[in-house]
Symmetry: D2
Subunit: 305 residues, 4 copies
């Protein structure tokens, strides 16, 4: 860990917020379309207990697809490797909400981080929990990881997703047609839309991500081998069809969400959360990616040498 | 580095060679179809200069697609980031020789490790070298990295590929139709088939791979940032449509070839070469993958924590 | 018209029912799975008012996708060429229930005879009618064309489809996500499942098909130019991904349904209905196709010379 | 046949040539790119021996893909239904030069009128002829059908295609990789490029098309059942991915070429040739299609009633 990490964060903040090409906010979920695209926050949690941050790091945002990391951990805790009978572990080569691959591969989504795969993961959790219990379990998991009880679901966002979630309903019905969804699409998706509507600040998300760092001084909620596997999936599939580029430029496992947040893990060293609501055409935070790129460069944090 | 690494290698050798499900040798290249599928070799090069090995680690085999790692390093040395105008950095979601993606994405291959992408990389090198010079440069690069002058191209294998390389000719002509191949397909492919026909033993390949480890005591042929980027591409794209699974199970950047070899990099720690000619349906060495999986487990070598 | 048409029908009946390769009944709709696959009926309506038939020509069967011909005629009557803004006129090159093309072509189905296209056609009719009115209008149209008031919807079949219609729900939600469905998927599909559950005998269907023959002595419910266009669509798209083969072998416009029925039009000369519940893998009646092939051969009925 | 057919042709000529949206000439074959897009010709051959024409009906143009109709007739004469083991009979749902379908369907082209399928047809003819003999046989067939010895191959166009035919080479190598091409791609394509470079005027083409009309007073070069089948393929596949639309609008079997020509058959009644070099994005003559549409409307020529 660099001794001047706060300086680096300050520099990145200044550099990134000076840019005007912050991209556009996701518009397909009405509640998200209202967010001010100029916001930017960054927080880093370290094994020594320190939490460094800069910018709008206390502003809660919708974690959206970052929730898939937490539900994956929970589902693996419930059914272990049985999960991989219903979802694959390969990058998809398609957009986050594409249905193309599902038809060719008979309803088995390519990985747990594209929408179809995450819907199956939620469906797996619902095998042993009601929707209410599942969401309560998710909040408990996140709050424990973050060591912070003040993390909630934004009901307005959840409702907003439900009203516009035709594509996700299509994916769910399609998989149900192939027998790869055990509950009614409305039930599984109701839960899924709520998990996506969890709100956290960068500080909270960086804290919650510590369970994937595998370092002394960080919470150990799952086994080291499972940590490694989730990190591997984040590396190969965490940014949809921009995963290869993120691995190439940043070199760290990470998961993005269309709310503009990214959770980045530096194995053994740090948990990073960045947030800026403007997105690239692939659905990843534009300035968030840029900030993490600079941070990785200046700290020499990379898993690749 | 575990102190008992040789013991671990011996155990893995015993365990893996006892298995009968070694998969089938690639048959589409006649010369490769004759190789005895029961062979198995493993070698590990360490920063302290030691080279540990087990099994058929001195037997030369056809490195095939592993050559793509070396040509990528050479092409980046020639044209730098200009390369990325002609080839992408994303996993493909398709087989190593698929042409589907090329049509949708107008002749730009998804990454430099699928066949189409590697053919473009070779075409880039040919912009400043004749085929003879290009191949001589490749051998010089590999021999320098391996610190071993006895590395050669097997002409019979190169000819054998040429006679059966219809799919690669299709890819090359297809890209030329889109303007993404500057030389005649026969010229670029003639060079490509020869680079694939380089033969190395596990010992030689482990030695040659050291330039990607980024450790003191290892040769530094390219910059650390370039090392990290090549490793990133190996992680996300090194095993074709099995890359996600390899990252999940092994957690290390690696490149496989249909000759049954795999080059695996442990950033900062080791360069590993494994070889067993029997393949999975996706074209990766079955026992080789298994051996590396066991080695990563027992050494706790993983980039993911 | 051959003078010995009844003889031809009798020969075909004998020849076809002697075969044991009648194919398998559709199983994805439970109510249809119970039908005896050995049934076979054939009826021909002629401009002189005669109705010739053979076999089980009085047994009602589920017309399923043949209903798409009638709803297309009704929708064109309502909105005319505006329809073609929401659905194309090209063969799809994919299965009847494929979703692949919809993603590439932004929710516009390729033609009105694949499921997605037929769902849009029903959605168009619902713009000016409630589901009840739409179904009443469909029955009125069919009864008028057939000159027979005893044509009904089988509610058990409609319910059966609803319970297993996940794929159709996926298609509908997918198109709604693209803005190409104006009603709630449940509403449009509820109507669609009922239209598919109309039951008719071969005699009734051959009578109903007369409105597409464009001959003196046949009912004129739509304009000759519209007749020609619907026949053209039946020729190029009436048998899903087997349309080219049917055109090649039989040479007549036709529409098949998974209930095992086929409506075949001989422009200016006859309306033919055939029924045998066993299907080919593409979802078309196996013996029905064979019978029509023989009939076209022996009567020299072909639009192609 | 309308008594005032010449009047109709004159009106269509006036109406169509007044339009300025004639589309753009094919540019990928340099020799074709030089053609003046404002030319327009139309000719109709009737069973009574009359040949009516209008506009540039005596100007020779490159028939390009229209040649596929003649080679198909020749190949069927050589191997009969054996042909269908190597090529299908279904519309492709893709562009004329797409390679997508070939990968999914293992090197079997969907129909004989897309490029891949036509290359297979030529390959079939080469099984019993040298390229020279095959081309001589093709010219003999066409000259006999047209009753005109003055029909030749334009060598400059053939060479021009060869130099830019990368996509066709890709298709050929691809199929050879699947074992569905028995000769070297260069040999088969050399023949194919020459067959495409046959030049004919509208008058000559309308005369040559008579062998598909199946009428007394027209040449009978192939059996009526084969005529019907070729016409069926022209109807479902003759305009690439615009075949459905042409069937819908015109209602007649036809084959287009990128030289701007279209051969249209009115079974039992007429053979029509139209030419205007400007193309739609799908590669079919824009004004040619329009002219045939008007002609079919005014003559009531349609196979669909």
């Amino acid at each position: 860990m660099p001794t001047n990490l706060q300086d680096i964060l300050d520099q990145i903040h200044e550099q990134v917020t000076a840019r005007s090409d912050h991209g556009e906010v996701a518009t397909y979920i009405p509640e998200l379309a209202r967010v001010d695209p100029k916001q930017f926050g960054l927080a880093v949690a370290l094994p020594d207990g320190r939490l460094l941050s800069v910018g709008d790091a206390e502003v809660p945002f919708s974690i959206q697809s970052i929730s898939k990391v937490f539900t994956l951990a929970i589902a693996l805790g419930r059914v272990g490797n049985q999960l991989w009978k219903r979802v694959g572990r390969e990058p998809s080569g398609h957009a986050f909400n594409s249905i193309l691959q599902l038809e060719h591969e008979k309803g088995i989504p390519r990985n747990p981080f594209i929408n179809a795969g995450a819907i199956v993961v939620t469906d797996v959790i619902l095998a042993s929990s009601s929707p209410k219990e599942a969401l309560a379990g998710l909040l408990t998991f996140i709050r424990t990881a973050a060591d912070d009880p003040n993390i909630y679901i934004n009901e307005a966002v959840a409702r907003s997703e439900k009203e516009t979630g035709h594509r996700n309903l299509a994916l769910a019905h399609f998989m149900r047609g192939f027998g790869n969804l055990t509950h009614e699409p409305e039930l599984t998706l109701g839960t899924y839309f709520h998990q996506c509507a969890v709100e956290m600040s960068c500080r909270q998300l960086a804290m919650a991500g510590r369970f994937l760092v595998n370092a002394r001084g960080m919470p150990h909620l799952i086994s080291p081998s499972r940590i490694r596997r989730i990190n591997a999936l984040m590396m190969t599939c965490g940014h949809y069809d921009g995963s290869g580029d993120f691995a190439f430029r940043v070199g760290l496992p990470a998961k993005s969400g269309v709310g503009g947040g990214i959770l980045v893990i530096v194995p053994g060293k740090a948990s990073i959360a960045v947030w800026s609501p403007g997105l690239t055409p692939l659905g990843n935070s534009r300035l968030g990616t840029e900030a993490v790129h600079l941070l990785a460069q200046r700290t020499q944090w990379s898993v690749f040498g």
